[in-house]
Structure formats: C-alpha cells, structure tokens
C-alpha cells in the first residue's frame, strides 16, 4: 500500500470513528426506546465499516471475518431486543398460523 493510501485509510477510519461518537449522542439522549435502538443499529453498521478499514490499515485480512460476524450479530440483536420489548419476554409463543386450514393462511 502506498503511503498516500495509508494516510487516506487512516483519515477515513478517523471520520468513521467521529461518526460513531456522534451516534453515541443519540444513543445516550434518545427520547424513546426506538431512537436508542436505531442508534445501536447504525453504530453496529459503522463498527463493521471501521473493522474493514482497520484490517486494510494493519494489513491483515483476518478481521473481515470478524466484521462479517458482527454484521450478522448486529441484525439478530436488533430483532431480539425488538421482540423482547414487544412481548416483554424472549420465550413467548408467537401467534401461530393455521397450517392445515387454508382459510387462515395469509
């Protein structure tokens, strides 16, 4: 990697970190639960981006696997927190659909 590209990647990583720090403001001071959840989701996306750029800076391609794992975990965590605050429990039975009767299937 040329020195210009190194500095460019460093500046990009710094700007992503600035964006993450600004997103923490909405996370700490959000009026409702959904604002905080949106901030957490956006923070996770920016974390994935920062991990990818950081792997390019240090020159090790292993961290992209961690970024991939974090992208999937971020999505599942968002859905789990939404389900918890909708039903106030995690092991709730979801409203079942009638599989045999064709008239209830939507």
């Amino acid at each position: 990697m040329s020195p210009f590209m190194g500095y460019f990647m460093l500046g990009s990583a710094f700007l992503i970190i600035v964006s993450m720090a600004m997103m923490l403001g909405r996370l700490l001071g959000g009026p409702t639960l959904y604002d905080r959840l949106l901030a957490v989701n956006s923070f996770g996306t920016k974390t994935v981006l920062f991990l990818c750029v950081f792997c390019f800076i240090i020159g090790r391609p292993d961290g992209v696997d961690i970024a991939l794992l974090y992208a999937l975990m971020n999505f599942i965590a968002t859905i789990a927190v939404l389900k918890f605050f909708n039903y106030r429990a995690l092991d709730v039975e979801l409203p079942s659909r009638n599989v045999t009767g064709a008239e209830d299937v939507r």
Binding site: M23, L37, N74
Partner: protein, 135 residues
C-alpha cells in the same frame, strides 16, 4: 496533490517502460478515492441527520437510507484496493449481508414503533388496527 501524483508514479516503476502509465492502478486509485469520499459523506450526513432531525420517523429515514448506501460505497472502495481474490470475496460477502440486513432492521424498528403507537411530530397519524392485525 503531490502525494497522489507520487502514488501514481510509484506504480509505474513496476512496468517495463517507465514512461508508460499503469492505467489500471490509476483507475483503482481514483475509484477508491471517489467511492470512499462519497461513502464517508453519506455516513456523516446520516449521522448528522440522526442527531438533528426532530422526529423518530425522520431519524429513521436519515439513518436507514444513508447507512445502506454509505456502507456499500465504503466497501466498494475497499474492494478497489484489495489485492487478493479471497479479500474481494470476503468484502463482497460483508456487503451482501449489510445490503440484506440493514433495510430489514430499519423496517423492523419502524414497524415496531408504529405498532407501539409512537406518533410522528407532524402530519396525519392513523392508529394501527391492533385487533385485526395479528401478523
């Protein structure tokens, strides 16, 4: 600017004829710079929108749309810079999963807020029909 020129000239030393410019490296450099700048602009604009907009639904609009496009552009810039095929495939996989999961999570958050009865600041609001809607 001199750094850009030196980075472009540095790639030409690998070529046999020193006067010939390596156009593939120049294209990769320009693509990386343009994609990364556009992606950083979208990410920062989305963050400022989340901080400054007055309502939850407008914040959702700002974050959901710009995060998807900004993330894809930044990953495209990294794909331009990567040397090995393995790295390209990994970054394409990350881009695919972000492209699938980010709008889904945004829609889930917005739908949950709508079902919970969160009113927008302005405009018409129709309450969701909770008895009829069993989805």
């Amino acid at each position: 600017m001199s750094l850009i020129f030196s980075a472009a000239v540095e790639t030409t030393h690998a070529v046999e004829h020193a006067a010939q410019i390596d156009w593939i490296s120049v294209f990769r450099l320009i693509g990386t710079i343009v994609s990364m700048a556009a992606g950083l602009f979208f990410v920062l604009a989305g963050t400022v929108g989340v901080l400054r907009l007055p309502d939850f639904y407008t914040r959702l609009h700002a974050a959901g749309m710009t995060d998807t496009l900004g993330a894809e552009l930044i990953l495209l810039a990294l794909i331009f810079q990567s040397d090995s095929l393995q790295m390209v495939l990994k970054l394409l996989l990350v881009a695919f999963f972000l492209f699938v999961t980010s709008p889904t999570a945004t829609h889930a958050v917005g739908h949950a807020a709508y079902r919970a009865g969160l009113k927008p600041l302005l405009g018409e609001y129709r309450a969701p029909d909770l008895e009829e809607d069993k989805s």
